[in-house]
Amino acid sequence: MSLIDEKDQVRTEEMLLNLGPQHPSTHGVLRLLVKINGETITDVEPVIGYLHRGTEKLAEDLQYTQIIPYTDRLDYLAAMLNNYALCHTIEQAMDLEVPERAEYLRVIVMEMQRVASHLMFIGAYLLDLGAMSPFLYVFADREQIVQLFNEICGARLTYNYMRVGGVKWDAPPGWLEKVADFVQYLKQKFHMYDELITGNEIFLARTRGIGRFDTETALAYGLSGINLRSTGYPWDLRRKKPYSIYDRFDFDIPVGQNGDCFDRYYLHLLEIKESLRIVEQALKSIPSSGPVLGKVPKMIRVPAGEYYSGIEGARGELGFYIVSEGKDKPYRLKIRKPSFINLQLLPELLRGQSIANVIAILGAVDIVLGEVDA
């Protein structure tokens, strides 16, 4: 007679397990207070704020251009997209025209950034699940993107590349060709990742059907990005509320079917492919020369009023809400942080699950604590 058969008679005690804040799989400094009964999770309480730097408060004392480097430090795996989200909101507010070549350069760096960020997710997620080698492969490929960014703006992680009305630097000679080469290279590599990971039986066992939620829950909790699309809902702001020049490109919005961890992994992989498609098209049609910074007043003053606009970031909808009095500094700046909002669902996802699934589910939500805590 085994103990498991007599489940009702086995005495279990509720236990409090403290995960983090310094835990390698929490992607930063997230602390989870997990209540477990035997191996089953009864409740989870995420504790955040360890990386809170008060970006929103600091921004109130900064001129608009000075805020851009602060956005680099939000989601530090996708700094280009953060740069753009802020500049885009200010441009909308001021009704500024952005030169063609700048728009193309922006789209190229943003999609390359999305690729880098998604690669990082795949590597880190597999590492969370115990697979070491994918992490090394993605880092080698991501390094090439980081090098390309280093060439165009002189930084590897915190780029500060975009400006209100365009970008700071034009691409150095030969840079666009290097990007084209890289796109071709990664397209071939794509199949390797697919074969190495997607069909792996251990990986499938750990992720299929785990951490499922449906579209209704996702919408109620305000989830966005891949978390929402994994439930089969094609919500991508590049299509739903087109910004920049995304309406000129041909690309698909991959969606999941089950809303489980596997779908969320696989969508990251598929989106890399779509981003590469966009970069390819942009490289073909980018004007060969021209200004990269529009006619922008020396001192940027947003007209009095309030403005909100969001873009499709690497982790979901990244938005900036600005209240302006018409001065050179915002009266209030609020960041709609996709990681912060996506993380809210975690207790719901973990309740009733086995303790062994905590890391698999947390990893697939794809958070960056720099953004969660802002």
């Binding site: 109620a220 909100y308 938005g319 209240v323």
Partner: protein
Amino acid sequence: MSEDREHRTPPKGPEGKEPSVTAAERPKPVSKPAAASGAAVKPAPPKKAPPPPDPRVEAAKAKAEEIRKFIDQQLSTEAVVETGAAHIHPMLLIRKEDWVAVVELLKRSDAYQLNYLECMAGTDYPNYIEVVVYLQSTELGHFICLKTRTDREQAEIPSLCAVHPGANWEEREIYDLLGVTFTGHPDLRRIMLDDDFKGHPLRKDYSAWEA
């Protein structure tokens, strides 16, 4: 302490009109002493013609008015205090007492289906604290801005958690950083700062030294 940390006048709406501030609250216009000296004053340069109204703003205002009529019919004629435009999006200022009812009505109604809470923010103004939500209808494409206001001293607003569960952490953040109590919130605690932190940093009169 720099002047920037002091209270500032409320920002004007995008159309140059002040958002509804009652006459008593409105800052008095600064009198011009130079005007009294008469002849010495140069004639004012001819004013530039005002720019033509933005059709997007006009459309947003019209839509806000349309939503107001809908709320008047379905709920109460006193729920909507003011309509206008927040940049190019329809904006409605809602009475605090009807805050949850209006958000719920717009979520459940077939005509609007505002089912997705896109952004929630709180702002400290000199005489009140304003909470704003941007709501999106994922099926019909409507995108509107709703606002409500509360007193600064006893900041209190009903919680939206029952209608939009996603408002949970957003409201905790506003409670933490702006000191607005959300009545009916299931778990109202500080989220970014320590539990024993004093003060609410996003308030304009917050000072790290005094706290």
